[in-house]
């Protein structure tokens, strides 16, 4: 155990730390974080439209026959164009991280994705490809445009020098003129060439050749287990696993959630961002709220109980740093096994429950601070989602319990041995 931990600390942690601080992944992560409030607004619109309360539905339909179109409008403005929003915010963040004009870069990224998109027959923007289905290609475009922009802006020959006396904001808008022209023309040519070689819509092509297969692959049980395993492992070494994995998790599992939302009863992606939030990460990574309950049940240690009391309130809102570092879970060999095991077991249970139809597919996005069980109900729009979350929670408590007891007895023995040794020492020295 000790050798394994040393090995991981030496080889795994530095790599994870580098990934966590990698510029492009950080830009993607912050880009997604920035658009989350919009996604939640869109999600709430769907939630209200589909509220599974017959009385409410009858009342609304009877009195305001077209009431659902309001939710539809909100959905169109948020979810339906999420790839555009995230392109903008990823590009902004990446340019800012290189100390360049974030707004100029973000505008260029926005323009570039429109340049390569395929207008509809009557000349409109293809709404179907501006949302989750266009996510992968748009992330790539955002990164490429911004890197190009930052690189071109660093070339003094391309920057138009304004005479003194010109207001700085005017000078700034001209500074990005040449880089902007170059980038937009490049993407125009890309679009031209793809059409010429027989790919009229790159969005469609990237979706079918790259995004859909990747989403399919990530929506398998082994992939989902790997994700939660990695998050727990990172947390065990005191690194914010959920944060480090967020760019990957969101890119793969948010489109799956949105596909479910659109498909309604025909939803078919089992694993979504909401799946992990509602059924697995209750109280935070490692289902740590269950660990606190296990402590209340079984622990006699004053430190454990005090900490559990303090950490419980934040835990209800899925904030678990106090548990991770205070208990601690981090680098605590006694808790290594359950902390890794619990999320994996819960993923398997929830997968099975969804696959055999006991629980509806997840299709609503909630803030990650939504308390457990309530979250389960909301994301599935069904009481059965809440029951599954409750069941999972009990399973997690049951897995943590023996390890708490085990750790307790080991701790008591250690303290006894220590005091005995001290006693021995004291008697000897007198």
């Amino acid at each position: 155990m000790k050798a394994l931990m040393n090995f991981l600390e030496k080889y795994f942690v530095p790599v994870a730390a580098r990934v966590g601080a990698q510029r492009h992944l950080v830009a993607i992560r912050d880009g997604f974080v920035a658009i989350m409030p919009l996604m939640i607004v869109g999600s709430l619109a769907v939630l209200v439209n589909n509220l599974p309360i017959p009385v409410f539905q009858h009342f609304m339909t009877a009195h305001f026959s077209t009431w659902k179109s309001l939710g539809g409008y909100i959905w169109t403005g948020t979810y339906a164009v999420m790839a555009v929003a995230v392109t903008f915010s990823i590009s902004y963040n990446l340019a800012r991280s290189r100390d360049k004009d974030g707004l100029a870069a973000a505008l260029l990224a926005f323009v570039s994705i429109i340049v390569i998109s395929q207008p509809t027959a009557d000349g409109g923007l293809p709404l179907g490809w501006l949302g989750s289905q266009g996510l992968f290609i748009d992330i790539v475009v955002a990164l490429v445009v911004t890197e190009l922009f930052c690189w071109l802006m660093g070339n003094p020959k391309l920057v138009i020098k304004m005479p003194e006396g010109v207001p700085p904001s005017v000078a700034k808008s001209f500074a990005s003129l040449f880089p902007g022209i170059i980038i937009v023309v490049i993407f125009g040519i890309v679009k031209f060439l793809t059409v010429a070689i027989g790919v009229p819509d790159v969005y469609q092509w990237v979706f079918h050749v790259i995004q859909a297969p990747l989403m399919g692959l990530s929506n398998t049980l082994p992939a989902a287990i790997l994700m939660v395993f990695l998050i727990s492992l990172l947390w065990f070494f005191g690194l914010h696993g959920a944060n480090i994995m967020l760019p990957i998790m969101t890119s793969l599992y948010l489109p799956a959630l949105m596909s479910n939302m659109q498909a309604g009863v025909h939803a078919h992606y089992i694993f979504t961002t909401s799946f992990f939030d509602a059924f697995v990460n209750m109280g935070g990574s490692g289902t740590s709220l269950a660990l606190l309950v296990a402590i209340f049940i079984a622990s006699k240690s004053a430190h454990y109980r005090d900490l559990a009391k303090m950490a419980f309130a934040p835990g209800i809102f899925n904030i678990n740093e106090p548990v991770m570092f205070g208990l601690p879970v981090v680098l605590n060999p006694m808790l290594f096994i359950p902390f890794i095991l619990v999320p994996v077991v819960l993923v398997i249970i929830s997968w099975a429950a969804t696959a055999i139809g006991l629980v509806p597919h997840t299709m609503i996005l909630m803030p990650w601070t939504t308390p457990p069980i309530i979250g389960g109900m909301l994301v599935t729009q069904s009481i059965r989602g809440g029951i599954l979350a409750l069941f999972n929670f009990c399973v997690a408590v049951a897995i943590y319990l023996p390890f708490i007891k085990l750790g307790e007895s080991a701790k008591v023995k250690a303290i006894e041995a220590q005091s005995e040794a001290a006693h021995h020492h004291a008697t000897q020295s007198t």
């Binding site: 994870a16 730390a17 580098r18 966590g20 601080a21 950080v26 912050d30 974080v33 920035a34 963040n93 800012r96 991280s97 947390w235 005191g238 690194l239 914010h240 959920a242 944060n243 480090i244 900490l307 303090m310 934040p314 809102f317 904030i319 678990n320 740093e321 106090p322 548990v323 991770m324 570092f325 205070g326 208990l327 601690p328 981090v330 601070t369």
Partner: protein, 101 residues
């Protein structure tokens, strides 16, 4: 007044610590301004503070934050895990005050 910035992933768990630190500062009669921000939000505002402390869960950002803080000559450090977990406002405040000298 000295200004202390705490940084974590979303600025949520550190905001808990901020209240504890403020309480401790009040008891000691130390006048400080303490704020918790996410890493993304901290980037643009780092120049407004006298010291930056990182939550241990985002210690991998230390290099980057140090780079950002360098032009302003602001000390950056990672909060001790145990102090962080126990939300020990007194110790973390002491660390911050110590860094500012």
């Amino acid at each position: 007044m000295k200004r202390i910035l705490l940084v974590c992933a979303a600025g949520m768990s550190t905001s808990l610590l901020v209240t504890k630190m403020q309480k401790s500062a009040q008891e000691q009669g130390v006048e400080v301004f303490i704020e918790a921000l996410s890493e993304a939000a901290a980037k643009d505002k780092i120049g407004n503070y006298n010291v930056v402390l990182l939550g241990p869960q985002v210690r991998f950002m230390e290099g980057k934050i140090k780079e950002l803080a360098k032009p302003y000559n602001i000390p950056v450090a990672v909060i001790n895990m145990m102090h962080y977990g126990m939300m020990n406002g007194k110790e973390v405040l002491a660390q911050a005050l110590g860094l500012m000298g």
